[in-house]
Symmetry: D3
Subunit: 278 residues, 6 copies
């Protein structure tokens, strides 16, 4: 589900960065023909994300590396479990190791944190969304990891969704005018979402015919009132200042979507390691 | 200090990812000729890193955007302060905003966490180092941010440093043989570092003529003994399991370098925002 | 409105293709310092599209070329009129000429044909849409040209719109299941469009909650019935087999959108030429 | 006969453009493991061109897609015939479909129109040539398609042929001086062609030792006189204003080559479709 | 005369290779704001080639570097002379120095050796040609340098010239058939050259209508006889085994062209250096 | 040992340059299905380097080409010997031939000249080093070839070694200050090398704690004195003006390393050829 053309470009860049012209240590010491085995281990409980990336890094280095999986992306892996098993030229495995782990530890970190938010929200009705606050250049991986953690994706970028913010409204003159301009010019395949900060804004956006309303940094009571105003005719999204402590309360307002920047911009890496078997 | 050729490639990729073929919202609503102003604000106390990246993203979108700075990279910015001031075409500023902030919030996040580790270590004699546990493709930015936070860089990749790990030792047969092979084949400009797990390893590495010894996951007492063994003839680096709670104790062992993966792989983004002035 | 990063890549490719290592004729004969002037002329009546591309090709060859415009993109240019005036190094103008014209003659060809379809449709209420039947790699230019001709854009690619076709329906088991899967997995910013071939399909799609229904190759009467079924609650799009002879009749069915592949895949180039003034 | 390095770059660009980060519809609905079959059908009589490009697009998406051909490039395919048969993962086939068809419908459109010009010219002695009026970036495909339609290629770009036009003559001072400069500086492997507009020009070009003379927009009588002047010592090419109505008369003047811009810049796409077999 | 798009790609690659992520020495020691001056000196007598490349390398590093020239490409520079003068940020000059010199010393080395061959040939009538034996990826620079040394270029690559070698003749069945196939399929803008090894081959090639005949590794007497056979109706090129000792004798045979691989594949670098003025 | 990502980029560039859009001669004459055989022959005694590059060029053109080797990189090949044997589609072999040979003749030229320097130096204790005076963009191949010839590599670029030159010293104020700045800022994995021109400089560099001292253009006696001063505590490198006549004398001074620019910047190509077997 990750476009291979994009994936290969990202992996190329990562391997160029780490390998450069050669691996001074391994090329000096390890015979390129020697074969070996390795296990990928979860050093903590985690939600797995990134196996297709992880494996592709190794096969870039050598087509002779083979991988066998014990878990799939989206699975919860208990601490200490073996995630996958590798065999092949030991020097190629050693050269790819750090880059492959760097992808997996970040992506699983995002999936694991997303799962915590989803669990805390505690409702099947509400969706936890990501934002565009991702690591530049790796958004396709960040957003894939969010899905693996049970979250959902907001628009990918500026090109596949309309989100009218305060400055757009100022530029247009009013919410109504902004919505009309967006509706007139954008493909009919794209919904129109408007960001508002209070109930007056919600009313104005509903009048203007917005498909989605983003409630920016509004307290739970105000969100509940907004949801009531919308009466399920408009999709309601809460965003801004949401954390593990308040997401449950936000979820209970009846809002449809809760966007959380932290799941991509502040997810700590999970602890995974590759153990070579002599 | 960041090679512009690398920087431009990274920014290209980031803008392609976010902008795609067009900004549906802004292109529909905002006149490309309208000019405006904006302030970059620190929403929390932070160590600044990434201004050259931040500004280059904007100038990619329009050569007419101008920036004025109130702080420099490496500075500590108090909560609420204005970091810089922008003026230029409002539509270009809006298109670049998220990408520029994504760089800055990550880089300043790394710098800010690095500074906390440096302060905790509490000694001018010991250097806090980064590792290769960085976001794939953005290592040049991650390592720059570490320097801005008062940390120092370990080798950049596999090509500019020798680090003999347990699997290299197994492949060579002994630490002595591994060091000899590395010394023979690698450029004379590169030092030879050996990773060991106990005092026996330290002694063997010193005998083998290692320039640097990495003490992997050793407790403070063992580190202190290792430092005494080395008697300042070999550079000693502690690594593995170091956090804000134990770094001071590690620093007091007399070790020269302390490597911390978390400063790059698990630094939360800082909270910065761009406020447009109508 | 065309992302410069994409535009520059396209122009690079075009100039590499035409210029290769050098212009054998011009480099042998024309002094690179000699300056001259040229006029871009419309050899037939046309709707203009592509000036930003046209001018950027010249400035790639030499930053000393200046252009002055008498018309803008989207304007109707009468036969024989001067569209713009160029001055600068004559050798650079000659090297860029063919590539610049190739872009402009194709883009204006698309805009001109689009305008004919829009005029024939004869109604402000209905929008003439493009399709994904564009020249591979130049879609961003083709779709821009459609807008300049008074048409509107359908989704850009597979990533920014949902269009459930017969094979998707077969794979899902029913329209209802396909719509539910799409709604569950895709970003909430994207509408769900379903392609049907008869009135039974229309009813099923409405029941399934489709946002848009594409009526594939249906005759005018069936389209009118479909529109009545939808009662303006669902956006209705006609597509397939539409040409300059039948578009007016289709437009009068009350359908909202009419998609025409020919405006991009079969638009003849317009006749424009560059006349150098000695 | 199409350089794979160029072809892959073009296909990459086309798939990036259409697929972006993912196929929202197919990824949401179709199991990536499900296999299926499809037929490529000619919806009208056409001259086939582009099969190697068509098939490579599919194999980019999945190495498991297999193709079986019933016709080859250059063949005349009757309306309704099956051109080829595909089998493999249905989701990959659906993702590649539009891009693959966009290449084939354009290339076969060029081949089909070229064949009409060749047939109309009605002589084995005269060659129908293309020009540089191709779609930017895809010239290698356009020119291949011309060959498949029975036409021949003029120079590829500015780097592999010399064509002295009026502005070159003005810059040099005379045809004789321009030819001498070109002959002196260009590789000896390249012929010198001069563009003229009347018989005086023809005489001057023959005197100057031109290898080829391009007769620009000259009427049939003048072309016949020019051919007589040249007495088969110089290759004579007619160009400008040639269409299906006048090409036969032009061919009968005895000219060697007839260049037609329309076969690449204004060829309508042929109607081909991919029918999936459930 | 060097296409900037190609040139920039080459310089990018060279600077990436040498600078990598940073210049460890200069970034540690030299203030990026300090300005300085430098002179480019010829340490031996040389024919200059490469100034546009040399200067572009510096301006890539900093737009503030300015250059003033005392010689132009193609000039003979006496030992000890100052070729150009630079001023600007000293750190940028130091970072670019080696890469810029590497281009210039190679290109001037080629120009200088070419000039020696031209001078030895001792005749204005004969042209000294290069071959395709160039450094991979830098052919555009190598061939430019040959021209600066007074030599001429053979075809650039396989795409802009026809050279029928023995294996082509074997494949076709005879020289006559090979020439006919080439003439039929290749653009009319390209001449047909045939490589032969003896007088029988020369006669056969003349009969077949070759435009150019390459005499491969033939002794001076045989070349003279071949030239007589051709009687100036066919261009005659000598190639193979030509060096500074025998080129004069070859030139006196009356042959039109002499191709020398050594001028590009074995030209020693000239000695140039950059002296910074504190 | 050559990073494949870098290698593929270089080969891409080389094949694009030589093949362009097509091979006019071979595509016109040779049936792409015909298979054939060829031998790679050494026309002179040489040290082999570049087989992995040579073979990869062929397999880029066709995966059906197979190679069998009689020698390995680093081997001394006598004049007239067959180096390897190829079989596969003859047209693909002919298209790749020149590019593959261009790589091999240059790389083996460097290895062969390096071996001569190593043999002349006549001591196992001293290492012959390359410099950064390589062909721009191909440094990874040049340095690999040096190793195959028995030489050793100096730093790869500005990013993986510290070399303090006179201008750095001027900028810092003194050798001591320059060394301190470099030591403070650069990774601890990198040694500090200082370039000096006389014995005073040697003493100052030793005092400053340099790890390596480069003796620039010093006569043998001075080098011997410098070596005595250093008493094996510092690595001593001689550089500048070293050639085949004086390297033995330099080697006998006791210096550790001798750097020779000529082995990369002025190595003549070796004579290798590909003979096709009909």
């Amino acid at each position: 589900m990750i476009n291979n053309i994009w994936l290969d470009r990202i992996i190329h860049m990562a391997l160029e960065e780490d390998l450069g012209h050669m691996d001074l240590t391994t090329d000096a010491i390890v015979d390129p023909e020697t074969r070996g085995k390795a296990s990928l281990l979860a050093r903590e409980k985690l939600v797995l994300a990134g196996l297709p990336v992880f494996s592709r890094v190794f096969t870039f280095l050598s087509s002779k590396i083979e991988l066998e999986y014990y878990f799939e992306d989206g699975h919860l892996v208990p601490e200490g479990e073996r995630i996958c098993f590798l065999s092949g030229p030991i020097s190629a495995i050693m050269k790819a190791e750090r880059t492959a782990l760097n992808f997996l530890q970040r992506m699983s970190g995002i999936a694991t944190l997303t799962r915590r938010y989803v669990d805390k929200a505690g409702s099947d009705r509400v969706k936890v969304l990501d934002t565009r606050k991702t690591v530049p250049g790796l958004r396709v991986l960040d957003k894939y990891a969010v899905r693996m953690g049970g979250g959902f994706n907001h628009r990918f970028g500026l090109f596949d969704g309309i989100l009218i913010k305060d400055n757009h409204i100022v530029a247009a003159g009013s919410i109504a005018k902004a919505v009309a301009l967006a509706r007139e010019n954008a493909p009919h395949t794209i919904k129109v979402e408007v960001e508002v900060e209070d109930l007056a804004g919600v009313e104005e956006a509903i009048q203007a015919g917005a498909d989605v309303i983003l409630l920016d940094n509004m307290p739970p009571d105000a969100i509940r009132n907004a949801v009531n105003l919308a009466r399920r005719r408009v999709i309601m999204e809460a965003s801004g200042g949401i954390n593990l402590n308040n997401i449950e309360e936000i979820a209970q307002t009846g809002v449809d979507l809760i966007a959380v920047g932290a799941i991509t911009h502040s997810a700590p890496a999970v602890d995974v390691s590759l153990e070579l078997i002599a």
